[in-house]
């Protein structure tokens, strides 16, 4: 069966006055039907830009320079605005990080939902409203009929995120891209949303790309994981092997820095330095300057993806834990 989404060699660059920012620089991944892919990485590593590229929401000075994005077999790169408009919301939806900002504060919830329905389906206002109400009910909002008449500011953060999810689900798209939808929420509310999403996707067979920097969330939710660093995916694979036996030093470093993992009070493993500027990437491996295992070739040559069994891949000249990977 063909994957819902197949991204290959995607390069999205921003041409700013300060130079070309290579936010996404040769990213390839795919998402199967009904699958949850966790896209993790630190701030500024290009996760959101990857998501926006799929949605066709890259604005000047940014541009998709190269690569292909196939959604249900249909090529998206090169589509015009109208072409993208037809895809958005119907074949792929997106939920954003900050629930306070994603809903227009001056429009009522029903307006914002109904317009989303009628953007793709020629249905009556009444039918659209009913559909919106059902969607709200499905994401667990009590008394949805009344809530439709409310303004966003009358909802709490968690409820707003649910409204956003309801909007994303309106057309039952086969794929939803979730850009850190729970980062701004409290732990207990985050759990509510995660539970909600889990249930809904199981029911509808929707595939998810879950963008986050929280490895814990990915561990609990995702089937597969892709770790991004400086505009590239440095490691992919099923959740368990990647988290248990990371191949890339960066993945390994990340896991080591998590306080939950160490003995309380013991010094944490830390990755020295900080993320490089995407406008001035070094010639070799982008992680080389911070890597504990750096060798001469790392500085000279950017590594390619080395495939490993179990659909794993790593972009490193000298992967770790090779022993842990079944040959």
């Amino acid at each position: 069966m063909a994957p819902v989404l197949e991204v290959s060699g995607l390069k999205t660059h921003f041409f700013t006055r300060a130079g070309t920012v290579k936010s996404v620089d040769g990213v390839s991944f795919h998402v199967e039907r009904g699958e949850v892919l966790g896209l993790v990485g630190e701030s500024g590593s290009g996760k959101s830009v990857t998501g926006f590229s799929v949605m066709g929401l890259i604005d000047p000075p940014g541009r998709i320079v190269e690569g292909s994005i196939k959604l249900n077999g249909k090529e998206l790169v090169g589509l015009d605005e109208e072409g993208f408009r037809e895809v958005r919301g119907r074949e792929v939806a997106m939920i954003f990080q900050d629930p306070m900002m994603t809903l227009n504060p001056v429009l009522r919830v029903d307006t914002q939902m109904i317009e989303a329905v009628t953007a793709h389906d020629k249905v009556s206002h009444k039918a659209a409203r009913e559909r919106s109400r059902d969607a709200l009910a499905k994401v667990g909002i009590p008394s949805p009929e009344e809530r439709l008449n409310a303004y966003p500011h009358q909802f709490s953060g968690g409820m707003r995120q649910r409204v956003a999810i309801a909007i994303a689900l309106l057309h039952r798209p086969p794929l939803i891209i979730c850009d850190e939808p729970t980062t701004a929420l409290d732990v207990t509310i985050q759990s509510q949303i995660l539970a909600e999403m889990q249930g809904l996707c199981a029911d509808t067979g929707t595939a998810l790309v879950w963008i986050t920097h929280d490895l814990g969330v990915v561990a609990g939710l995702a089937d597969r994981i892709a770790v991004m660093y400086a505009g590239r995916i440095v490691e992919t694979g099923a959740v368990d092997p990647v988290l248990d036996t990371p191949l890339h030093p960066y993945t390994s470093g990340l896991l080591g820095s998590l306080p939950a993992e160490g003995e309380p009070g013991a010094p944490l493993r830390q990755i020295r330095g900080s993320t490089p500027s995407l406008a001035r990437l070094p010639q070799g491996c982008a992680f080389a300057a911070r890597c504990d295992y750096v060798q001469a070739d790392c500085l000279a040559l950017a590594p390619d993806v080395t495939p490993f069994p179990g659909a794993r891949g790593v972009r490193c000249h000298h992967p770790l834990n090779l022993a842990g990977v079944a040959a």
């Binding site: 539970a195 889990q198 561990a219 998590l258 009070g265 830390q270 990755i271």
Partner: protein, 338 residues
């Protein structure tokens, strides 16, 4: 070492928006305007011993920062008393108060907004010690260099502005600023929340190092349980302005007693838990403007009973050093207290 250096006794902080003359007049005409009161902190008792790291956790808006600010002297308590090294702050002389202010320093959440963007690092860090006469003006520069060294920053960056640093470096500048006035007590308000994990580890390590080197005491505020667990000796959990449970860290993480604490711990995502089924708490966090009656947690509590709706549970010691405010541990939730 067992006498506390900092004690809070029934500290409350209320934010009120009083009625203006027009609203009062309107009330005479039959309108119903009332004062808006937020009980950000609601009679909290807490004592912290020398050298201890106390973690303070709770959901957003539950009053953690406000409590931290009261401790650091940025806010005054609306009621209750704070004592520092055995002296009540409201009874201190100006001299003593200044000493206390400097002794208790705060480190803030946002590494960008907590640094004045128009000042150079040397002024950010060096201003207060010079103003307070801890360091002569002539030595400001070398003193700042020393401080930067201590927090692991290259001391040649002194003449730069905050925007020229990365997030982790800014966090270090904030720490250097606090250290520059030679504090004994640090209030860390979500000081690592804005940092990436890899940077967060650097800063957490720095905190631990400084504690050992300078014998500092910490009130460590965070909503990230794993950070708190890693760092703290003792953990205090707040819910809507009140302390609901406090215990030594290891004990609390082993066996939380308050239903809220239990839910909180259960919901922390962890990389150890793969493909788990999330079993969340029901309900929304209530508004602090209109907190629920009785136990603030009762509308969301799976085990709530009639008593919880009416009666505020008191903090009860369950084991040594382990207190919780729940009727379950104090005669049950079924009936009203006599």
């Amino acid at each position: 070492m067992t006498t506390p250096i900092l004690t809070l006794e029934g500290v409350s902080k209320r934010f009120t928006k009083p009625l203006d003359a027009a609203s009062k007049f309107a009330n005479l005409l039959g309108a119903k305007y009332s004062e808006q009161v937020v009980h950000a902190v609601d009679s909290v008792d807490l004592s912290i011993r020398q050298g201890e790291v106390v973690g303070l956790v709770g959901e957003s808006g539950c009053g953690k920062s406000t409590l931290g600010r009261v401790v650091a002297g940025v806010h005054h308590a609306s009621s209750g008393r704070v004592s520092w090294r055995g002296r009540y702050t409201n009874e201190m002389s100006a001299e003593e108060r200044k000493a206390a202010t400097l002794a208790i320093q705060m480190i803030f959440q946002d590494p960008m907004s907590s640094l004045n963007p128009r000042l150079r690092v040397t002024d950010i860090v060096g201003e207060a010690p010079v103003v307070h006469g801890l360091v002569p003006k002539a030595q400001q520069d070398s003193y700042v260099a020393e401080m930067l060294d201590r927090v692991g920053l290259d001391s040649t960056y002194r003449r730069r502005y905050p925007h020229q640093f990365s997030g982790g470096q800014r966090a270090r500048i904030g720490i250097a600023r606090a250290l520059a006035v030679k504090p004994q007590f640090l209030v860390c308000d979500e000081s690592v929340a804005a940092l990436d994990v890899s940077i967060q580890a650097q800063v957490l390590n720095l905190f631990m190092k400084l504690r050992d080197e300078l014998n500092l005491t910490y009130l460590f505020i965070s909503h990230d349980l794993s950070v708190v667990r890693h760092l703290s000796d003792r953990v205090v959990i707040m819910y809507l302005g009140r302390v609901v449970e406090a215990a030594p860290a290891a004990e609390l993480f082993k066996g939380p007693q308050h239903p809220y604490a239990q839910a909180l711990l259960a919901n922390v995502p962890s990389i150890a838990a793969r493909k788990k089924r999330f079993a969340p708490l029901k309900g929304e966090i209530p508004s602090p403007l209109h907190p629920p009656s009785g136990c603030h947690f009762h509308p969301r509590c799976p085990q709530a009973g009639p008593r919880c709706r009416v009666e505020r549970p008191a903090l009860k010691e369950i084991a040594t050093g382990h207190v919780a405010a729940c009727h379950l541990h104090d005669g049950g939730v079924g009936a009203l207290a006599a």
